[in-house]
């Protein structure tokens, strides 16, 4: 088990699919998935390459635990240079696709070049070939998924696919798999579209080989599952409320930004919370939430399966569109925040509808919601006019406007094309670059760096731009996992951020879900890797691999042209104090944390790993 030791190289320009042995030296140094694919990208591409040029590569990679009975062992990632940021992009997805890659016998697929015409990759175990996809181009991700299942007459086919937004050049397109799971951030779907690759359809029946020491493996796996089941977050909170368990919690501690982060604290938070998703609605007495759902191998099952109220304005006139009438992937916390609190909209059904469309046409709800929020602020300031928006009254809190702008994005026409550029380009276009709530061009997730200091340092230094899942210090600063740190303190935060970033890089390279780390420490994870993989995988080695990956990504970004000047936060978060609530008066004190962070990272003052660091980590 662990690695299949086989990768597939797909040259889209030439139309060839070629198997290659996995570089096991690199696997030993970078484990799999995020780390290992980054190593391939670094070795094979020029960091200065244009993200949407044929010279950029896109890698889909599993980890050594993908396809095993380790809880949550079904993950895969998409690694490339991102078009929204120009930085390393690495987006992680659950669902069932990762296992299918592994069962078909592949650790990783490297896509290079650009096909002259739209194609999709079909994989059935050893068979891998590019097939024409003209009939899929121009279809939504869901339509293309349906067509592929029908064409192949195989209900067990697993599909990764891009939607129309990626085809239309929206810079935050996702790769959707299993209809409502996504390699969501940084525009990895847009890169896929630039290669004229519409989909990857996989069927794997070879099996993932048994571990070499099966008693040790099953003991470690059983211990891991028990820890998840007994932990209040992974055993109760996440299955019951999903990540939406956080909406009221984060709002309560003064950490929930609202209205393009102009405010902290959202008066409508309860209406769009995980608890609200359980409340029966007036029209049919049914709640928004139908059930929780698991990704492959996951014993947590945090996924939300929801329906939209059939009487709601967003779908009232769409009886001819069955995809909105039944159940599908519902709101996660980040999406509920970006589409809701950040736009000032507290209409749960409107947000659920927009979330469906994000999945249906493959775009990142975080970047989308935040870009709409920035546009709303510019609209209220008079810098964006009704003429610009095509008549959409883009005021904060206007649910109809949110729905209209969502549908405009899907068509890629008019103001939809402007939104598709992301907040950084949009704010530059309309003359107020400081209103883009982003780092390195990637929009913020749902935690305010003024009310929660450490997450601000993580956002500023995250290798893919403002991202919570590079170093989720919220676990410590709010939830007390593994130890509580004071949210408004900066002391100790550089060390905290580094520890979370390094551990996360390892988790993202193993084939398991980051959410396990609400309950699992490295002392729970390392034994499972150790029992599954050849070689000795101690806690120390795992952490060193994590740190090595972090530095490799950093060096890629530096070579791509990023500098210490890009490790910053928007002015608003450094200057405009929180106006009310439990964190009133706070700004982010990045300057108190960043030098220390560079120092403990072993970086120079200009943010480059020192020769000693490079040598220590074997880079």
């Amino acid at each position: 088990m662990s690695w299949t030791r086989k990768i597939l190289r797909v040259n889209l320009t030439e139309g060839t699919c070629t198997p290659e042995p996995l570089n096991m030296q690199w696997a030993n140094d970078y484990l799999g998935q995020r780390g290992l694919a980054t190593k391939y990208l670094v070795e094979e591409t020029d960091p200065k390459v244009h993200p949407l040029s044929p010279e950029n590569k896109l890698i889909m990679a599993t980890g050594p635990l993908t396809g095993t009975m380790v809880s949550t062992g079904g993950r895969y990632s998409v690694i490339t240079k991102g078009p929204l940021t120009g930085a390393i992009a690495c987006s992680n997805s659950g669902g069932f696709l990762g296992n299918e890659f592994k069962n078909a016998g592949w650790d990783m697929i490297i896509f290079e070049g650009r096909s002259p015409t739209p194609v999709y990759l079909y994989i059935e175990n050893d068979l891998a070939e590019l097939r024409p996809a003209e009939h899929l181009w121009g279809k939504s991700a869901w339509e293309a998924d349906d067509i592929l299942h029908a064409d192949h007459q195989d209900p067990n086919l697993r599909v990764a696919v891009i939607g129309r937004t990626s085809e239309n050049g929206c810079l935050f397109g996702c790769v959707i798999n299993d209809r409502h799971r996504a390699a969501g951030r940084s525009g990895v779907g847009t890169v896929m579209a630039s290669k004229h690759l519409k989909a990857v359809a996989v069927r794997g029946t070879l099996g993932v080989a048994a571990p070499h020491s099966s008693d040790e493996f099953f003991k470690a796996v059983a211990d891991g599952k028990e820890v998840l089941a007994e932990n209040p977050v992974t055993g109760q909170g996440l299955p019951t409320y999903g990540t939406q368990v956080l909406m009221n919690v984060i709002n309560g501690v003064g950490g929930l930004p609202a209205r393009n982060m102009r405010d902290v604290g959202f008066e409508g938070a309860e209406n769009i919370s995980g608890e609200a998703m359980h409340e029966p609605r007036a029209s049919d007495g049914k709640p928004n939430l139908v059930t929780n759902a698991a990704c492959f191998g996951c014993t947590i099952a945090c996924g939300r399966i929801s329906t939209i109220d059939k009487t709601h304005f967003s779908i009232r006139d769409k009886a001819d569109k069955p995809q909105y009438q039944g159940a599908s992937g519902g709101l996660e916390y980040e999406a509920a925040w970006s589409l809701g609190a950040d736009t000032g909209v507290d209409d749960l059904d409107a947000l659920t509808y927009v979330n469906f469309v994000c999945n249906e046409d493959g775009f990142d709800p975080i970047s989308f919601g935040c870009t709409v929020a920035a546009a709303m602020e510019l609209f209220e300031a008079g810098k964006i006019t009704l003429e610009d928006t095509g008549g959409i009254d883009l005021r904060f809190g206007n649910a109809e406007a949110l729905v209209a702008v969502t549908e405009a994005l899907v068509t890629g026409e008019g103001f939809g094309a402007v939104i598709g550029m992301g907040s950084k380009r949009l704010c530059e276009k309309y003359g107020d670059a400081d209103l883009s709530m982003s780092v390195k061009g990637l929009e913020f997730p749902a935690y305010d760096p003024r009310g929660i200091q450490g997450i601000g340092l993580n956002y500023a230094t995250s290798n893919r731009g403002a991202c919570h899942v590079r170093g989720y210090t919220i676990a410590s600063e709010i939830l007390g996992i593994p130890v509580k740190t004071e949210q408004t303190d900066t002391d100790g935060k550089p060390e905290l951020v580094k520890a979370f970033q390094d551990a996360t890089a390892l988790v993202d390279s193993a084939g398991i879900c980051l959410f396990t780390t609400f309950a699992w420490g490295m002392e729970n994870i390392a034994p499972q890797i150790d029992a599954a993989c050849e070689g000795d995988w101690s806690v120390e080695r795992c952490l060193e691999v994590g740190e090595r990956i972090w530095n490799l990504e950093r060096m890629y970004n530096n070579a791509a042209g990023f500098t210490a000047d890009d490790d910053k936060l928007p002015k608003r978060l450094l200057k405009e104090a929180i106006k009310s609530g439990p964190t009133k008066g706070q700004v982010n004190r990045l300057g108190e944390m960043l030098p220390k962070y560079y120092e403990i990272r072993g970086w120079t003052e200009s943010g480059e790993p020192t020769p000693e660091t490079v040598s220590r980590l074997g880079l």
């Binding site: 009975m69 067990n156 139908v290 059930t291 698991a294 099952a301 069955p322 159940a327």
Partner: protein
Amino acid sequence: MQRSLYLDPAKCTGCLQCEMACSYEKLGEFNPSRSLIKVFTFHEEGRFAPYTCTQCDDAWCLRACPVDAITINLSTAAKVVNEAKCVGCKVCTIACPFGTVNYVHETGKVGKCDLCDGDPACARACPTEAITFIDANATGYERMRAFAEKSISAANATAS
């Protein structure tokens, strides 16, 4: 005590741990495509349903087999395929009304659930008790218990 697999779709999250466990038990590898228990997803209803052989007392598959390759395990009452005898004729797959015995092209034989000799791996692996292995005479007791509980609250309401 004879035991039956009891499958409760309402508790299933669709994680497929059961399919991995089944394939590991039978093949020593993680291969959901070869699992003898299958979880079906009903996307638009937001439901998941595990399904496998019901171990019919008067088993169509067993009666249909022309070479007597399907026999009864006397300790578990499972209907078991004897691979050495099976000729892969697939008549049992036609006879089974539930579709739970299927041809396996990798082996040229048919495959069906055999209750793992009385300790089903799927039930052990299920994290939510959607699959349990319980007294064959008591598979309705959970539902009876739920109704019994209602009768208590009704009685309490009457008393007060």
